[in-house]
Subunit: 631 residues, 2 copies
């Protein structure tokens, strides 16, 4: 096993079918005003406050109860162990990125409680103890045993990598061995109703080198589509994985499964897996994904809907599903090095995921509508509390998603002011980024190899960028540049070489495929990686649902340092339609039904909505067709 200090999000260091290799969280030092304070907030505020709730709600009690230290009935939902594991994983990533002795102690203590609940045979799930012990493994579809096990394994891996302490990873391995013995020796057939363990087992294989974990992961994946868990699309059990071509079912389950399949592909290289993943990705991104990167539009079954079924007010778009979207695209990026995956990862991260947590780091959305009347507010916790610790672990891990390495050189996926040390074919290279990204698209990168060295720098040119420019040591590069790709700059890099990346952030009006009826005759505003929304509190003079943007609307972006911890707002001129049909649902239109007046409006990043006074909000803004558009 590897030594402490290599906290990878996904360790593809030795994965034969991955193009990219990881840079550990420890090597990445973010010093920007966007991510650095958020990651500190997660460590200093979110994670400690979540521990209090995990204790309050009986989740830790359940472990003490299982170990015999406390008495009483099991508390909460049967899969609540997973929240504790995600919390540990969040703490581990946080500790990898920055020291906090109190948090370290708290995590250790929590881990000891977890471990003490493990059975002698390695089994570990606090629900299936005492009376419920006989029900172990009897309902893989509904009872989330393998799901909880997967989260335990992921937490253990992250904590071991971050601290080098081995108690939890030992326990996780014992449990994984127990599962392997339970299933692999022909004693039981099955596959989990809620995927998660597939990716965990591949990562455990990567950490330990034990092939049985990889094989067990493949066993669970190969068992899908056989009807072992009922054969429903909801459980993604209606077809063998390799035959999937449409993304369906419970969004988190579906995309966690894709993560597992991608992890498996990176180790075993089955091209049918990759083909299915490509089909599923196109199905999602071309027909079933919100402009925020949110997925799973349906309340019914927390699921993907039909193609183009993307309602705004009644969007489900679970925070966990946007998180899963980041996780999946990160893996697709590692496999391929293709920028389209980084684009979706960035989109989901800055918009769909970030909206899931309040600016103060202690309240959460489970459901993320794209339009609202002001009644949808973040909560401190949920009975089914999958989202809060999930967003904590994802955001804590983000430093690990900025850079990758390949045999050719260094890959830059995300931009933020800060430093990183990366080993390129034996040469240590230090990179320093200066940028105000995501508020500004100018990025200056100083390259400092310990010795002059020839390698490539792969710079992500985001799909959203228009007319990007790149200079090396003040000279425009002599290469074609295209948005939505990685620009490879191969040269002999000298200490202090400077790359300048200029990604002009214009305010863009995004239109939607007309098959999404709700978005016809509407535009969304995008600037850089951020999707904007109009919120009532910034626009007191009209109902934001009645804002109408003409095509020639003059708009400008402005940095507001004191607003929402500092955001770039978009303001501009538009119209407000004042309808007069209050109290009536339907009315005959007359030429005076709608009165429009000129107004000034302000839009904020979508991730920041619902942090102030409640009121209407919408991402998709009505647009005004101009007569010259008619021919």
């Amino acid at each position: 096993m590897k030594a402490r200090g290599n906290t990878f999000v996904v360790d593809t260091t030795n994965s034969p079918y991955a193009k990219l290799r990881p840079v550990p969280i420890e090597n990445v030092h973010l010093e920007d005003s966007f991510w650095a304070p958020r990651i500190s907030m997660i460590r200093e505020k979110t994670i400690p406050s979540q521990h209090e709730i995990i204790e309050e709600t009986g989740r830790l009690f359940n472990f003490r109860r299982a170990s015999g230290k406390e008495r009483g009935g099991f508390r909460g939902l049967y899969f609540n162990d997973s929240d504790v594991y995600k919390w540990v994983e969040a703490a581990a990533f946080s500790l990898a990125a920055g020291r906090n002795d109190d948090l370290h102690r708290l995590t250790r203590q929590t881990i000891l409680e977890i471990i003490s609940a493990q059975d002698d045979d390695g089994y570990l799930n606090t629900y299936f103890t005492f009376d419920n012990k006989k029900k172990r493994w009897t309902n893989l579809r509904d009872m989330h045993e393998l799901y909880c096990a997967g989260h335990l394994i992921q937490a253990a891996i992250a904590y071991y990598r971050a601290t080098g302490e081995h108690e939890l990873i030992d326990a996780a391995c014992r449990f994984a061995d127990h599962i392997d013995e339970t299933f692999r020796l022909g004693k039981r057939d099955g596959t989990p109703g809620h995927p998660e363990i597939e990716m965990a087992l591949v990562e455990l294989y990567r950490l330990t080198g034990k092939r049985r974990y990889l094989e067990l992961s493949k066993f669970f994946l190969d068992n899908r589509g056989k009807g072992l868990i009922g054969g429903s699309p909801y459980h993604i059990d209606h077809k063998p994985f390799r035959e999937l071509d449409e993304i369906v079912g419970h969004a988190v389950r579906s995309v966690y499964l894709n993560c597992g399949a991608a992890d498996l592909y990176m180790e075993i290289g089955d091209e049918r897996l990759l083909e299915a993943l490509f089909h599923l990705w196109r199905s999602m991104t071309e027909r079933k994904m919100y402009i925020t990167g949110g997925i799973g539009s349906r309340y019914v079954g927390e699921s993907f809907g039909e193609d183009y079924e993307l309602p705004n007010v009644t969007a489900y778009a679970e925070t966990c599903a946007a998180i899963a979207n980041v996780m999946w695209n990160w893996r697709m990026l590692l496999i391929t090095g293709e920028a389209r995956f980084a684009d979706v990862m960035e989109l989901a991260l800055y918009n769909g995921v970030l909206a899931g947590i309040s600016i103060d780091g202690e309240e959460y959305f489970y459901v993320n509508p794209l339009a609202d009347r002001g009644t949808h507010r973040r909560q401190r916790w949920f009975k089914c509390a999958c989202c809060p610790p999930n967003i904590a672990r994802l955001l804590a891990s983000i430093p690990g998603c900025f850079y990758s390495i390949s045999s050719e050189g260094i890959w830059l996926h995300l931009y933020a002011q800060g430093k990183v040390s990366i080993d390129v074919n034996g040469v240590s290279v230090k990179l320093t980024q200066w940028t105000r990204y995501p508020w500004d698209g100018d990025v200056k990168i100083m390259v400092q190899p310990e010795t002059e060295s020839s390698f490539s720098m792969f710079l992500r040119i985001p799909g959203w960028s228009r007319k990007p420019k790149v200079l090396v040591n003040d000279q425009p590069i002599d290469q074609p540049l295209s948005a939505g790709s990685y620009l490879e700059i191969r040269r002999l890099w000298k200490h202090g070489d400077i790359i300048q990346l200029v990604l002009p952030m214009s305010i863009e009006r995004i239109v939607c495929n007309s098959r999404v009826m709700e978005n016809q005759d509407r535009v969304a505003l995008r600037r850089g990686p951020l999707i904007y929304c109009v919120e009532q509190v910034d626009n007191p003079d009209f109902d934001v649902w009645n804002l109408i943007l003409p095509l020639d609307s003059k708009m400008e972006a402005k940095w507001e340092p004191s607003l929402l911890n500092g955001v770039v707002i978009i303001s501009g001129e538009a119209y407000a339609a004042d309808d007069e049909i209050d109290g009536q649902l339907y009315r005959v239109e007359t030429s005076s039904s709608v009165k429009m007046r000129r107004v000034k409006f302000t839009a904020i990043p979508y991730f920041a909505w619902a942090n102030r006074e409640p009121g209407p909000m919408t991402v998709w803004i009505r647009s005004l067709m101009l007569p010259h558009q008619a021919t």
Copy 2:
């Protein structure tokens, strides 16, 4: 009990708190080209074809099985008896309106099978026989026993009124007595999870004069909101009925309950019941009803959504819910004589309900979207087949909803060519209507009292009408006329007096309250009582979802005798927007993103959609703001 030939839909003849009294189906002779052929179709085609399916699917087998004539397990869903009862009720109304000896024989035979399944103690439900007998009345919330009983009672009443044959009503009374004994003597508490029996019991009281049935109905209504069936809004058990102010829950259950409460009010006059009904009606019509009169917008729980939650593509709008809407508004109209209830009844009947059955009378919609891509098609039957026999019984009963009587005179609610005989304070009055309604709003009515008589004619002036005119014997009446009211013409009527009602049917653009985001910047087309839609098959040159109607669009209505059994179409000039973002979900808008071209379009009545080649359809059409609207 009353003699044969008084087949009332709701018999308010002696109801102390009803303003209007009924005219039996037997007295109403429709001779028009809209309803008369439909009602014949129901009798000659729909009802016989449904009997075949009811037999095929084991619904009649279940009765034979329960009576010991056949062996085997119960077939289908546990509430399938109700479909047989609704079928009998449909047949009864059909036989009241027109003779069909084959259907009469078939109905008699079916009734004998029903009766033979009755237990000695009066209990009658084929699911709760043999092994399930011990479960009787143990789960009122889910098992629909009282719901099925209600449908049996309604069928029995209709059949007795239509034929004078007493076997089924005797059986129904025995069952009702059994229920009364089961619940009323303090043996059991409870209320049905699916309301229905409330209105049935009140009608049984009206037929038999036995007050115990009325009291039993009130017992069930008064037991709501006590948590006896779980206390959920879904079951409308979250509050006592008299405290309800928002319409919620499963739409059919909710509105059937309102029907029961309205029936109860008409007998016992509890003003708190009526107040609650008014609140619920406003909640529905002002915030939760589709423009088609369809209700229950949500798939989840087949339920009413939040205020203004009225999606188009994913509308649920169950056919049974639109039927319930007609039933409820009919009762509200009987209570009050207020035209607003007749307006909603007419709207739901001609649009939301009629769309539920194919033009050929043998296929049905369960779910009624207001926009579609061509995949939603009517089916011959459903596993849960509540809608097909429900639409049959409603349409078969429609002749009974054209007229009412009050102490002042005769009320005309609906218009169609035909004749009726009505007794007004002892004087027999014959009315003859000549009209092409709903295709044309000119209605000529000849009044023929057997002797000159002074009474009022209450003519419904539909809420949709603009500049209506009324003439009596070619003289314009000297009274103010207003749409959405009943015009009372009181005079000494002579044999052959002619009333001319002129309701100009212009094509109207209807706009929706802007709180329904999906309908912003859209219009629906209405002409007379009919809501229109654009369907792809009539508009081959552009996608109907991309049709854009400018405010000054020239439109005209035209009778098309050979289309869809004869409909008035709307055609006009508009634009089609050809978007170029096929394959992409989101794209940056440019001035060339949308190209508009002038097109001619055709719209058809919504009820007639999905009877031809499948393709996109929408009720709400994009509209184009004109620059002069901006100030």
